[in-house]
Protein backbone atom coordinates (compact mmCIF):
# COMPACT_ATOMS: atom_id res chain seq x y z
CA UNK A 1 0.00 0.00 0.00
CA UNK A 2 2.63 2.51 1.08
CA UNK A 3 4.79 1.84 -1.96
CA UNK A 4 1.80 2.49 -4.19
CA UNK A 5 1.19 5.79 -2.41
CA UNK A 6 4.85 6.79 -2.71
CA UNK A 7 4.70 5.92 -6.41
CA UNK A 8 1.63 8.14 -6.81
CA UNK A 9 3.48 11.00 -5.07
CA UNK A 10 6.43 10.61 -7.45
CA UNK A 11 4.16 10.50 -10.50
CA UNK A 12 2.33 13.65 -9.35
CA UNK A 13 5.56 15.47 -8.58
CA UNK A 14 7.02 14.63 -11.98
CA UNK A 15 3.78 15.77 -13.60
CA UNK A 16 4.68 19.16 -12.15
CA UNK A 17 1.97 19.09 -9.51
CA UNK A 18 3.43 21.31 -6.74
CA UNK A 19 5.05 19.29 -3.95
CA UNK A 20 2.58 20.50 -1.31
CA UNK A 21 -0.40 19.50 -3.46
CA UNK A 22 1.14 16.08 -4.23
CA UNK A 23 1.57 15.33 -0.52
CA UNK A 24 -1.93 16.55 0.29
CA UNK A 25 -3.55 14.67 -2.58
CA UNK A 26 -2.08 11.35 -1.47
CA UNK A 27 -2.88 12.03 2.18
CA UNK A 28 -6.48 12.89 1.30
CA UNK A 29 -6.75 9.71 -0.76
CA UNK A 30 -5.32 7.62 2.06
CA UNK A 31 -7.60 8.81 4.81
CA UNK A 32 -10.72 9.72 2.84
CA UNK A 33 -12.50 6.55 3.94
CA UNK A 34 -12.40 7.77 7.51
CA UNK A 35 -15.46 10.03 8.18
CA UNK A 36 -13.54 12.55 10.30
CA UNK A 37 -10.56 12.64 7.95
CA UNK A 38 -11.39 16.09 6.59
CA UNK A 39 -11.10 17.76 9.96
CA UNK A 40 -7.95 15.78 10.79
CA UNK A 41 -6.30 17.07 7.63
CA UNK A 42 -7.28 20.67 8.30
CA UNK A 43 -6.16 20.39 11.92
CA UNK A 44 -2.80 19.01 10.83
CA UNK A 45 -2.37 21.79 8.27
CA UNK A 46 -2.78 24.28 11.09
CA UNK A 47 -0.88 22.48 13.86
CA UNK A 48 1.95 21.66 11.43
CA UNK A 49 2.92 25.34 11.52
CA UNK A 50 2.21 25.92 15.21
CA UNK A 51 5.85 25.54 16.13
CA UNK A 52 7.83 28.41 17.58
CA UNK A 53 11.19 27.17 16.16
CA UNK A 54 9.69 27.21 12.64
CA UNK A 55 9.28 30.96 13.00
CA UNK A 56 13.04 31.14 12.58
CA UNK A 57 12.71 30.20 8.89
CA UNK A 58 11.00 33.37 7.57
CA UNK A 59 13.10 35.55 9.84
CA UNK A 60 16.44 34.05 8.75
CA UNK A 61 15.25 34.27 5.12
CA UNK A 62 14.50 37.94 5.77
CA UNK A 63 17.89 38.53 7.39
CA UNK A 64 19.61 36.85 4.41
CA UNK A 65 17.59 38.93 1.93
CA UNK A 66 18.55 42.15 3.71
CA UNK A 67 22.23 41.14 3.92
CA UNK A 68 22.31 40.14 0.24
CA UNK A 69 20.92 43.52 -0.78
CA UNK A 70 23.09 45.39 1.68
CA UNK A 71 26.44 45.47 -0.09
CA UNK A 72 27.84 42.62 1.98
CA UNK A 73 28.84 40.41 -0.96
CA UNK A 74 31.21 42.96 -2.48
CA UNK A 75 32.99 43.56 0.83
CA UNK A 76 33.43 39.86 1.52
CA UNK A 77 34.77 39.27 -1.98
CA UNK A 78 37.33 42.03 -1.53
CA UNK A 79 38.42 40.44 1.75
CA UNK A 80 38.64 36.98 0.14
CA UNK A 81 40.75 38.41 -2.69
CA UNK A 82 43.24 39.84 -0.21
CA UNK A 83 43.49 36.46 1.54
CA UNK A 84 43.73 33.98 -1.36
CA UNK A 85 44.07 36.04 -4.54
CA UNK A 86 47.79 35.27 -4.82
CA UNK A 87 47.19 31.54 -5.39
CA UNK A 88 47.13 30.04 -8.89
CA UNK A 89 43.50 30.37 -10.05
CA UNK A 90 43.05 33.21 -7.58
CA UNK A 91 39.51 34.17 -8.59
CA UNK A 92 38.31 30.59 -8.27
CA UNK A 93 39.88 30.48 -4.80
CA UNK A 94 38.09 33.74 -3.99
CA UNK A 95 34.88 32.09 -5.17
CA UNK A 96 35.33 29.26 -2.66
CA UNK A 97 36.42 31.41 0.29
CA UNK A 98 33.66 33.91 -0.37
CA UNK A 99 31.11 31.12 -0.20
CA UNK A 100 32.51 30.02 3.14
CA UNK A 101 32.12 33.54 4.49
CA UNK A 102 28.81 34.47 2.88
CA UNK A 103 27.37 31.05 3.79
CA UNK A 104 27.23 32.32 7.33
CA UNK A 105 24.56 34.75 6.26
CA UNK A 106 22.47 33.32 3.46
CA UNK A 107 22.08 29.66 4.51
CA UNK A 108 21.06 28.87 0.94
CA UNK A 109 23.13 27.28 -1.83
CA UNK A 110 20.97 28.90 -4.51
CA UNK A 111 21.49 32.39 -3.11
CA UNK A 112 25.21 31.87 -2.67
CA UNK A 113 25.74 30.35 -6.11
CA UNK A 114 23.70 33.15 -7.69
CA UNK A 115 25.88 35.82 -6.03
CA UNK A 116 29.10 34.15 -7.25
CA UNK A 117 27.66 33.57 -10.72
CA UNK A 118 26.54 37.19 -11.05
CA UNK A 119 29.60 38.92 -9.66
CA UNK A 120 32.59 36.60 -10.10
CA UNK A 121 31.91 34.58 -13.25
CA UNK A 122 31.99 37.56 -15.65
CA UNK A 123 35.34 38.66 -14.16
CA UNK A 124 36.68 35.10 -14.27
CA UNK A 125 35.75 34.78 -17.93
CA UNK A 126 37.51 38.02 -18.81
CA UNK A 127 40.64 36.56 -17.17
CA UNK A 128 40.55 33.45 -19.36
CA UNK A 129 38.63 30.95 -17.23
CA UNK A 130 36.25 28.73 -19.20
CA UNK A 131 32.55 29.37 -18.62
CA UNK A 132 32.14 25.72 -17.59
CA UNK A 133 34.79 25.91 -14.88
CA UNK A 134 33.71 29.33 -13.57
CA UNK A 135 30.06 28.24 -13.43
CA UNK A 136 30.88 24.85 -11.91
CA UNK A 137 32.96 26.29 -9.07
CA UNK A 138 30.20 28.85 -8.36
CA UNK A 139 27.69 26.01 -7.99
CA UNK A 140 30.06 23.70 -6.11
CA UNK A 141 31.04 26.34 -3.58
CA UNK A 142 27.33 26.91 -3.00
CA UNK A 143 27.35 23.58 -1.17
CA UNK A 144 28.99 25.27 1.81
CA UNK A 145 26.08 27.57 2.73
CA UNK A 146 23.43 24.96 3.66
CA UNK A 147 25.59 23.44 6.39
CA UNK A 148 26.57 26.70 8.06
CA UNK A 149 24.34 28.74 10.36
CA UNK A 150 21.69 30.00 9.67
CA UNK A 151 21.02 27.01 7.42
CA UNK A 152 17.30 26.67 6.77
CA UNK A 153 17.82 22.95 6.11
CA UNK A 154 19.41 22.42 9.51
CA UNK A 155 16.63 24.38 11.26
CA UNK A 156 14.07 22.23 9.49
CA UNK A 157 15.88 19.02 10.42
CA UNK A 158 16.15 20.20 14.02
CA UNK A 159 12.41 20.86 14.18
CA UNK A 160 11.42 17.63 12.43
CA UNK A 161 13.81 15.34 14.33
CA UNK A 162 13.65 17.25 17.62
CA UNK A 163 17.40 17.88 17.66
CA UNK A 164 19.19 20.94 19.08
CA UNK A 165 19.46 23.52 16.31
CA UNK A 166 22.43 25.09 18.09
CA UNK A 167 24.31 21.77 18.05
CA UNK A 168 23.48 21.33 14.36
CA UNK A 169 24.73 24.82 13.54
CA UNK A 170 28.02 24.20 15.30
CA UNK A 171 28.30 20.66 13.94
CA UNK A 172 28.31 22.09 10.42
CA UNK A 173 31.37 24.27 10.91
CA UNK A 174 34.08 21.59 10.47
CA UNK A 175 32.38 19.94 7.44
CA UNK A 176 32.00 23.41 5.85
CA UNK A 177 35.70 24.09 6.31
CA UNK A 178 36.49 20.64 4.90
CA UNK A 179 34.40 21.33 1.80
CA UNK A 180 36.16 24.66 1.32
CA UNK A 181 39.56 22.95 1.65
CA UNK A 182 38.63 20.12 -0.72
CA UNK A 183 37.33 22.54 -3.34
CA UNK A 184 40.31 24.81 -2.86
CA UNK A 185 42.76 21.96 -3.52
CA UNK A 186 40.73 20.81 -6.54
CA UNK A 187 40.65 24.34 -7.92
CA UNK A 188 44.40 24.70 -7.42
CA UNK A 189 45.14 21.45 -9.28
CA UNK A 190 42.88 22.42 -12.20
CA UNK A 191 44.30 25.94 -12.26
CA UNK A 192 47.89 24.73 -12.39
CA UNK A 193 47.04 22.38 -15.26
CA UNK A 194 45.11 25.08 -17.18
CA UNK A 195 47.50 27.90 -16.19
CA UNK A 196 44.72 30.06 -14.79
CA UNK A 197 46.05 33.43 -13.56
CA UNK A 198 46.60 34.82 -10.08
CA UNK A 199 44.59 37.89 -9.03
CA UNK A 200 47.57 39.52 -7.36
CA UNK A 201 51.31 39.00 -7.67
CA UNK A 202 52.17 38.38 -4.06
CA UNK A 203 50.68 37.80 -0.65
CA UNK A 204 48.89 40.74 0.91
CA UNK A 205 50.70 42.40 3.79
CA UNK A 206 49.19 42.70 7.23
CA UNK A 207 47.92 46.24 6.73
CA UNK A 208 46.06 45.27 3.54
CA UNK A 209 44.46 42.30 5.27
CA UNK A 210 43.54 44.38 8.31
CA UNK A 211 42.03 47.16 6.18
CA UNK A 212 39.89 44.72 4.22
CA UNK A 213 38.92 42.84 7.37
CA UNK A 214 37.69 46.05 8.99
CA UNK A 215 35.47 46.81 6.00
CA UNK A 216 33.79 43.41 6.16
CA UNK A 217 33.92 43.03 9.95
CA UNK A 218 30.20 43.49 10.62
CA UNK A 219 29.29 41.00 7.92
CA UNK A 220 31.75 38.43 9.28
CA UNK A 221 30.45 38.98 12.77
CA UNK A 222 26.95 37.71 12.03
CA UNK A 223 27.68 33.93 11.94
CA UNK A 224 29.85 34.35 15.03
CA UNK A 225 27.00 36.08 16.85
CA UNK A 226 24.63 33.32 15.76
CA UNK A 227 26.83 30.58 17.16
CA UNK A 228 27.74 32.39 20.35
CA UNK A 229 24.14 33.46 20.96
CA UNK A 230 22.89 29.92 20.62
CA UNK A 231 25.62 28.05 22.43
CA UNK A 232 25.75 30.46 25.32
CA UNK A 233 22.04 29.87 25.75
CA UNK A 234 21.31 33.58 25.46
CA UNK A 235 18.72 33.20 22.72
CA UNK A 236 16.49 30.51 21.28
CA UNK A 237 16.94 30.00 17.49
CA UNK A 238 13.74 31.98 16.84
CA UNK A 239 14.80 34.87 19.04
CA UNK A 240 18.16 34.80 17.34
CA UNK A 241 16.51 35.00 13.93
CA UNK A 242 14.66 38.18 14.98
CA UNK A 243 17.89 39.63 16.35
CA UNK A 244 19.61 38.66 13.07
CA UNK A 245 16.98 40.69 11.16
CA UNK A 246 17.56 43.72 13.36
CA UNK A 247 21.34 43.29 13.08
CA UNK A 248 21.25 42.99 9.29
CA UNK A 249 18.99 46.06 9.06
CA UNK A 250 21.41 48.07 11.18
CA UNK A 251 24.48 46.87 9.23
CA UNK A 252 22.98 47.25 5.74
CA UNK A 253 21.09 50.47 6.53
CA UNK A 254 23.28 52.42 8.90
CA UNK A 255 26.80 50.96 8.70
CA UNK A 256 27.10 50.16 4.98
CA UNK A 257 24.26 52.54 3.97
CA UNK A 258 23.23 50.29 1.08
CA UNK A 259 19.51 50.07 1.78
CA UNK A 260 16.98 52.76 2.66
CA UNK A 261 13.53 52.77 4.23
CA UNK A 262 12.05 52.67 0.71
CA UNK A 263 13.72 49.31 0.06
CA UNK A 264 12.22 47.63 3.12
CA UNK A 265 8.67 46.83 1.88
CA UNK A 266 10.03 44.92 -1.13
CA UNK A 267 12.53 43.00 1.03
CA UNK A 268 9.87 42.03 3.58
CA UNK A 269 7.41 40.99 0.87
CA UNK A 270 9.98 38.89 -0.92
CA UNK A 271 10.96 37.19 2.34
CA UNK A 272 7.29 36.45 3.15
CA UNK A 273 6.70 34.90 -0.28
CA UNK A 274 9.97 32.92 -0.32
CA UNK A 275 9.29 31.49 3.14
CA UNK A 276 5.71 30.60 2.29
CA UNK A 277 6.97 28.44 -0.60
CA UNK A 278 8.75 26.20 1.94
CA UNK A 279 6.31 26.47 4.83
CA UNK A 280 3.28 25.25 2.87
CA UNK A 281 5.22 22.05 2.14
CA UNK A 282 5.93 21.69 5.86
CA UNK A 283 2.22 22.02 6.60
CA UNK A 284 1.36 19.45 3.91
CA UNK A 285 4.08 17.14 5.21
CA UNK A 286 2.48 17.29 8.66
CA UNK A 287 -0.61 15.77 7.05
CA UNK A 288 1.50 13.18 5.23
CA UNK A 289 2.99 12.33 8.62
CA UNK A 290 -0.29 10.58 9.42
CA UNK A 291 0.48 8.02 6.70
CA UNK A 292 4.08 7.67 7.86
CA UNK A 293 2.83 6.88 11.36
CA UNK A 294 -0.07 4.59 10.37
CA UNK A 295 2.01 2.59 7.93
CA UNK A 296 5.03 2.39 10.27
CA UNK A 297 7.27 3.37 7.38
CA UNK A 298 10.49 3.73 9.44
CA UNK A 299 10.05 0.16 10.72
CA UNK A 300 9.36 -1.12 7.22
CA UNK A 301 12.42 0.64 5.84
CA UNK A 302 14.60 -0.59 8.66
CA UNK A 303 13.36 -4.13 8.04
CA UNK A 304 14.13 -3.76 4.35
CA UNK A 305 17.64 -2.49 4.97
CA UNK A 306 18.51 -4.95 7.71
CA UNK A 307 17.26 -7.68 5.38
CA UNK A 308 20.28 -6.89 3.20
CA UNK A 309 22.79 -6.18 5.94
CA UNK A 310 22.98 -5.34 9.63
CA UNK A 311 26.27 -3.49 9.21
CA UNK A 312 25.62 0.19 10.12
CA UNK A 313 28.46 1.27 7.80
CA UNK A 314 26.78 -0.37 4.81
CA UNK A 315 23.36 0.93 5.82
CA UNK A 316 24.80 4.45 5.97
CA UNK A 317 26.39 3.95 2.55
CA UNK A 318 23.07 2.83 1.17
CA UNK A 319 21.31 5.83 2.74
CA UNK A 320 23.98 8.14 1.29
CA UNK A 321 23.46 6.75 -2.19
CA UNK A 322 19.70 7.00 -1.90
CA UNK A 323 19.80 10.59 -0.62
CA UNK A 324 22.35 11.69 -3.19
CA UNK A 325 20.29 10.35 -6.06
CA UNK A 326 17.03 11.73 -4.69
CA UNK A 327 18.74 15.06 -4.07
CA UNK A 328 19.60 15.30 -7.76
CA UNK A 329 15.96 15.08 -8.75
CA UNK A 330 13.99 16.78 -5.99
CA UNK A 331 14.12 20.01 -4.07
CA UNK A 332 15.98 19.51 -0.79
CA UNK A 333 13.40 21.05 1.59
CA UNK A 334 10.67 18.83 0.21
CA UNK A 335 12.88 15.77 0.53
CA UNK A 336 13.81 16.69 4.03
CA UNK A 337 10.19 17.04 5.09
CA UNK A 338 9.25 13.71 3.55
CA UNK A 339 12.31 11.73 4.63
CA UNK A 340 13.32 13.02 8.07
CA UNK A 341 10.37 11.41 9.89
CA UNK A 342 11.31 8.16 8.13
CA UNK A 343 15.09 8.22 8.28
CA UNK A 344 15.79 9.88 11.64
CA UNK A 345 14.36 6.97 13.68
CA UNK A 346 16.14 4.56 11.35
CA UNK A 347 19.48 6.28 11.93
CA UNK A 348 18.90 6.34 15.68
CA UNK A 349 18.17 2.61 15.63
CA UNK A 350 21.59 1.87 14.13
CA UNK A 351 23.31 4.12 16.64
CA UNK A 352 24.00 7.21 14.53
CA UNK A 353 24.13 10.45 16.52
CA UNK A 354 21.14 12.65 15.48
CA UNK A 355 23.32 15.75 14.97
CA UNK A 356 25.73 13.72 12.86
CA UNK A 357 22.87 12.29 10.81
CA UNK A 358 21.39 15.75 10.26
CA UNK A 359 24.63 16.93 8.71
CA UNK A 360 24.87 13.79 6.54
CA UNK A 361 21.33 14.38 5.33
CA UNK A 362 21.77 18.06 4.53
CA UNK A 363 25.15 17.49 2.89
CA UNK A 364 23.71 14.79 0.63
CA UNK A 365 20.77 16.92 -0.46
CA UNK A 366 23.06 19.86 -1.05
CA UNK A 367 25.47 17.90 -3.24
CA UNK A 368 22.46 16.49 -5.07
CA UNK A 369 21.08 19.97 -5.69
CA UNK A 370 24.26 21.15 -7.39
CA UNK A 371 24.74 18.01 -9.49
CA UNK A 372 23.71 17.89 -13.17
CA UNK A 373 21.53 17.13 -14.98
CA UNK A 374 18.66 18.26 -12.76
CA UNK A 375 20.07 19.89 -9.61
CA UNK A 376 18.23 23.17 -9.02
CA UNK A 377 21.43 25.16 -8.35
CA UNK A 378 22.80 24.06 -11.74
CA UNK A 379 19.92 25.83 -13.43
CA UNK A 380 20.20 28.91 -11.24
CA UNK A 381 23.85 29.25 -12.28
CA UNK A 382 23.21 28.31 -15.91
CA UNK A 383 20.43 30.89 -16.15
CA UNK A 384 22.89 33.59 -15.04
CA UNK A 385 26.07 32.54 -16.86
CA UNK A 386 24.52 30.94 -19.94
CA UNK A 387 26.71 27.85 -19.58
CA UNK A 388 25.64 24.73 -21.48
CA UNK A 389 24.87 21.78 -19.22
CA UNK A 390 27.34 19.34 -20.88
CA UNK A 391 30.15 21.90 -20.51
CA UNK A 392 29.14 22.49 -16.91
CA UNK A 393 29.04 18.75 -16.23
CA UNK A 394 32.56 18.13 -17.56
CA UNK A 395 33.98 20.93 -15.42
CA UNK A 396 31.96 19.91 -12.38
CA UNK A 397 33.10 16.26 -12.28
CA UNK A 398 36.35 16.78 -10.27
CA UNK A 399 34.51 19.03 -7.84
CA UNK A 400 31.80 16.42 -7.44
CA UNK A 401 34.45 13.84 -6.57
CA UNK A 402 35.95 16.22 -3.99
CA UNK A 403 32.53 16.76 -2.43
CA UNK A 404 31.83 13.02 -2.30
CA UNK A 405 35.17 12.46 -0.54
CA UNK A 406 34.12 15.03 2.10
CA UNK A 407 30.71 13.38 2.37
CA UNK A 408 32.32 9.99 3.04
CA UNK A 409 34.68 11.52 5.59
CA UNK A 410 31.78 13.20 7.37
CA UNK A 411 29.75 9.99 7.24
CA UNK A 412 32.40 7.65 8.61
CA UNK A 413 34.25 9.95 10.99
CA UNK A 414 31.39 11.23 13.20
CA UNK A 415 33.82 13.25 15.32
CA UNK A 416 34.18 15.69 12.44
CA UNK A 417 30.62 16.73 13.21
CA UNK A 418 30.20 15.93 16.90
CA UNK A 419 33.56 17.17 18.23
CA UNK A 420 32.79 20.91 18.13
CA UNK A 421 29.27 20.71 19.63
CA UNK A 422 30.64 18.58 22.47
CA UNK A 423 33.55 20.96 22.98
CA UNK A 424 31.25 23.98 23.30
CA UNK A 425 28.58 22.25 25.39
Amino acid sequence: MIWALLLVILVLIFLRVPVFASLLAVSVLYIMLEPTAGTVIVQRMSSGLESFPLLAIPLFVLAGTIMAGGGIAERLMAFATVLVGHFRGGLAQVNVLNSLMIGGMSGSSNADAAIDAKILVPIMRRQGYSNGFASAISAASGSISPILPPSIGLILYGVLANVSIGALFIGGVVPAILIALALSVTVWLISVRNKYPRVRDGRANFLEIWGSFRKSFFALLMPVLLIVGLRAGIFTPTELSAIAVVYSLVVAGFVYKQITWRDLPALFREAAITSAMVLIIIAAAAVFGIIVAYERIPDQLLGLLTGFTDNPMLILLFINLLLLILGMFMESMSLMIILVPVLAPLAASIGVDPVHFGLILVLNFTIGSITPPVGSVVYTVAAITGVKIPEFTRAFLPMFLALVVVLLLVTYIPELVTWLPELTR
Binding site: L12, F14, R16, V19, F20, R269, M277
Partner: protein, 188 residues
Protein backbone atom coordinates in the same frame (compact mmCIF):
# COMPACT_ATOMS: atom_id res chain seq x y z
CA UNK B 1 3.87 38.57 -22.54
CA UNK B 2 1.01 38.44 -20.06
CA UNK B 3 -1.26 35.50 -19.43
CA UNK B 4 -4.73 36.17 -20.80
CA UNK B 5 -6.36 35.60 -17.42
CA UNK B 6 -4.01 38.03 -15.70
CA UNK B 7 -4.40 40.65 -18.39
CA UNK B 8 -8.14 40.87 -17.84
CA UNK B 9 -7.96 41.25 -14.06
CA UNK B 10 -9.34 44.67 -13.01
CA UNK B 11 -6.62 46.84 -11.50
CA UNK B 12 -8.53 47.43 -8.25
CA UNK B 13 -8.95 43.71 -7.69
CA UNK B 14 -5.34 42.94 -8.47
CA UNK B 15 -4.09 45.65 -6.10
CA UNK B 16 -6.35 44.35 -3.35
CA UNK B 17 -4.98 40.85 -3.88
CA UNK B 18 -1.39 42.08 -3.74
CA UNK B 19 -2.28 43.90 -0.52
CA UNK B 20 -3.79 40.81 1.10
CA UNK B 21 -1.23 38.30 -0.16
CA UNK B 22 2.00 40.28 0.01
CA UNK B 23 1.69 43.48 2.00
CA UNK B 24 -0.27 42.00 4.92
CA UNK B 25 2.20 39.06 5.29
CA UNK B 26 5.10 41.54 5.08
CA UNK B 27 3.51 43.65 7.82
CA UNK B 28 2.91 40.55 9.93
CA UNK B 29 6.54 39.56 9.44
CA UNK B 30 7.65 43.01 10.58
CA UNK B 31 5.32 42.71 13.57
CA UNK B 32 6.88 39.35 14.49
CA UNK B 33 10.38 40.83 14.37
CA UNK B 34 9.31 43.71 16.62
CA UNK B 35 7.41 41.47 19.07
CA UNK B 36 10.19 38.92 19.50
CA UNK B 37 12.91 41.57 19.71
CA UNK B 38 10.89 43.50 22.29
CA UNK B 39 10.46 40.27 24.26
CA UNK B 40 14.23 39.65 24.25
CA UNK B 41 15.03 43.25 25.15
CA UNK B 42 12.42 43.22 27.90
CA UNK B 43 13.81 40.01 29.31
CA UNK B 44 17.47 41.01 29.39
CA UNK B 45 17.34 44.76 29.93
CA UNK B 46 14.26 45.18 32.08
CA UNK B 47 13.84 41.68 33.53
CA UNK B 48 10.31 41.89 32.22
CA UNK B 49 9.56 39.88 29.07
CA UNK B 50 6.67 40.85 26.80
CA UNK B 51 3.80 38.63 27.93
CA UNK B 52 2.33 36.50 25.15
CA UNK B 53 4.84 37.72 22.54
CA UNK B 54 5.64 34.19 21.40
CA UNK B 55 2.02 33.24 21.02
CA UNK B 56 0.98 36.42 19.22
CA UNK B 57 3.97 35.96 16.90
CA UNK B 58 2.86 32.40 16.20
CA UNK B 59 -0.64 33.57 15.24
CA UNK B 60 0.85 36.23 12.98
CA UNK B 61 3.20 33.60 11.51
CA UNK B 62 0.41 31.17 10.60
CA UNK B 63 -1.69 33.89 8.97
CA UNK B 64 1.31 35.45 7.22
CA UNK B 65 2.25 32.06 5.81
CA UNK B 66 -1.18 31.10 4.51
CA UNK B 67 -1.85 34.53 3.00
CA UNK B 68 1.58 34.60 1.36
CA UNK B 69 1.00 31.08 0.02
CA UNK B 70 -1.85 32.52 -2.03
CA UNK B 71 0.64 35.07 -3.36
CA UNK B 72 2.97 32.22 -4.26
CA UNK B 73 0.10 30.68 -6.24
CA UNK B 74 -0.64 33.96 -8.00
CA UNK B 75 2.99 34.25 -9.06
CA UNK B 76 3.16 30.56 -10.05
CA UNK B 77 6.12 30.02 -7.72
CA UNK B 78 5.11 26.87 -5.86
CA UNK B 79 7.99 24.39 -5.64
CA UNK B 80 7.37 21.88 -8.41
CA UNK B 81 9.55 19.62 -10.49
CA UNK B 82 9.44 20.15 -14.25
CA UNK B 83 12.27 17.80 -15.23
CA UNK B 84 9.92 15.64 -17.26
CA UNK B 85 7.20 18.04 -18.38
CA UNK B 86 9.82 20.51 -19.65
CA UNK B 87 10.70 17.98 -22.33
CA UNK B 88 7.09 17.90 -23.59
CA UNK B 89 5.82 19.92 -26.53
CA UNK B 90 3.82 23.06 -25.55
CA UNK B 91 0.54 21.26 -26.19
CA UNK B 92 1.47 18.32 -23.97
CA UNK B 93 2.81 20.71 -21.33
CA UNK B 94 -0.60 22.35 -21.35
CA UNK B 95 -2.32 18.97 -21.00
CA UNK B 96 -0.05 18.02 -18.07
CA UNK B 97 -0.82 21.38 -16.49
CA UNK B 98 -4.56 20.75 -16.86
CA UNK B 99 -4.11 17.51 -14.88
CA UNK B 100 -1.99 19.32 -12.28
CA UNK B 101 -4.48 22.18 -11.87
CA UNK B 102 -7.43 19.81 -11.55
CA UNK B 103 -5.62 17.91 -8.78
CA UNK B 104 -4.74 21.17 -7.02
CA UNK B 105 -8.32 22.43 -7.25
CA UNK B 106 -9.62 19.11 -5.94
CA UNK B 107 -7.29 19.12 -2.95
CA UNK B 108 -7.90 22.78 -2.16
CA UNK B 109 -11.66 22.36 -2.55
CA UNK B 110 -11.49 19.55 0.00
CA UNK B 111 -9.63 21.88 2.37
CA UNK B 112 -12.18 24.68 1.89
CA UNK B 113 -15.21 22.47 2.51
CA UNK B 114 -13.75 20.69 5.52
CA UNK B 115 -12.03 23.79 6.82
CA UNK B 116 -15.18 25.92 6.83
CA UNK B 117 -17.22 23.06 8.23
CA UNK B 118 -14.71 22.51 11.02
CA UNK B 119 -14.47 26.27 11.66
CA UNK B 120 -18.24 26.47 12.14
CA UNK B 121 -18.82 23.29 14.11
CA UNK B 122 -15.52 22.03 15.51
CA UNK B 123 -14.38 22.16 19.11
CA UNK B 124 -11.16 24.09 19.62
CA UNK B 125 -8.83 24.54 22.55
CA UNK B 126 -7.67 28.01 23.50
CA UNK B 127 -4.10 29.24 23.18
CA UNK B 128 -2.53 29.31 26.62
CA UNK B 129 -1.12 32.83 26.74
CA UNK B 130 -3.72 34.91 24.91
CA UNK B 131 -6.78 32.76 25.51
CA UNK B 132 -7.61 33.07 21.81
CA UNK B 133 -9.42 30.09 20.27
CA UNK B 134 -7.41 28.00 17.80
CA UNK B 135 -10.47 28.39 15.56
CA UNK B 136 -9.01 31.70 14.36
CA UNK B 137 -5.71 30.10 13.50
CA UNK B 138 -7.40 27.38 11.50
CA UNK B 139 -9.49 29.89 9.53
CA UNK B 140 -6.35 30.91 7.65
CA UNK B 141 -6.40 27.59 5.79
CA UNK B 142 -9.78 27.83 4.01
CA UNK B 143 -9.19 31.53 3.32
CA UNK B 144 -5.87 30.72 1.67
CA UNK B 145 -7.34 27.73 -0.16
CA UNK B 146 -10.16 29.85 -1.64
CA UNK B 147 -7.64 32.35 -3.01
CA UNK B 148 -5.44 29.58 -4.38
CA UNK B 149 -8.42 27.93 -6.11
CA UNK B 150 -8.99 31.20 -7.98
CA UNK B 151 -5.41 31.15 -9.28
CA UNK B 152 -5.58 27.48 -10.16
CA UNK B 153 -8.79 28.16 -12.06
CA UNK B 154 -6.98 30.97 -13.90
CA UNK B 155 -4.11 28.66 -14.74
CA UNK B 156 -6.52 25.93 -15.77
CA UNK B 157 -8.17 28.27 -18.28
CA UNK B 158 -4.76 29.23 -19.67
CA UNK B 159 -3.77 25.55 -19.91
CA UNK B 160 -7.01 24.56 -21.68
CA UNK B 161 -6.49 27.36 -24.20
CA UNK B 162 -2.88 26.26 -24.61
CA UNK B 163 -3.92 22.66 -25.19
CA UNK B 164 -6.33 23.80 -27.90
CA UNK B 165 -4.02 26.28 -29.60
CA UNK B 166 -0.71 24.50 -29.00
CA UNK B 167 0.76 27.78 -27.69
CA UNK B 168 1.41 27.47 -23.96
CA UNK B 169 3.63 29.10 -21.39
CA UNK B 170 3.60 28.24 -17.67
CA UNK B 171 2.35 30.99 -15.34
CA UNK B 172 5.70 30.99 -13.54
CA UNK B 173 7.32 32.04 -16.81
CA UNK B 174 4.91 34.88 -17.44
CA UNK B 175 5.58 38.24 -15.78
CA UNK B 176 2.38 39.57 -14.20
CA UNK B 177 3.31 43.22 -14.60
CA UNK B 178 -0.18 44.50 -14.14
CA UNK B 179 -0.50 43.19 -10.59
CA UNK B 180 3.06 43.73 -9.43
CA UNK B 181 3.96 47.25 -8.21
CA UNK B 182 7.16 48.62 -9.67
CA UNK B 183 9.27 48.33 -6.52
CA UNK B 184 8.68 44.60 -6.04
CA UNK B 185 11.57 42.38 -7.05
CA UNK B 186 10.90 39.93 -9.86
CA UNK B 187 10.87 36.28 -9.03
CA UNK B 188 14.00 34.27 -9.66
Amino acid sequence: MKSPATRRMPRGVSRSLVFVEEIVPALLLAFIVVAITADVIGRYLFANPLQGAAEISLIAFVWATYLAVAGVSRQGRHIAIDVITATFSPRWQAIADIVAQLIIIGVLGYLVINGLDFFAQGHFTNLVGTGLSRRWLMLAIPVSAILMICYSARDLIVAVRGAISGDFQLTSNVPDDDIRPDNTPKEA
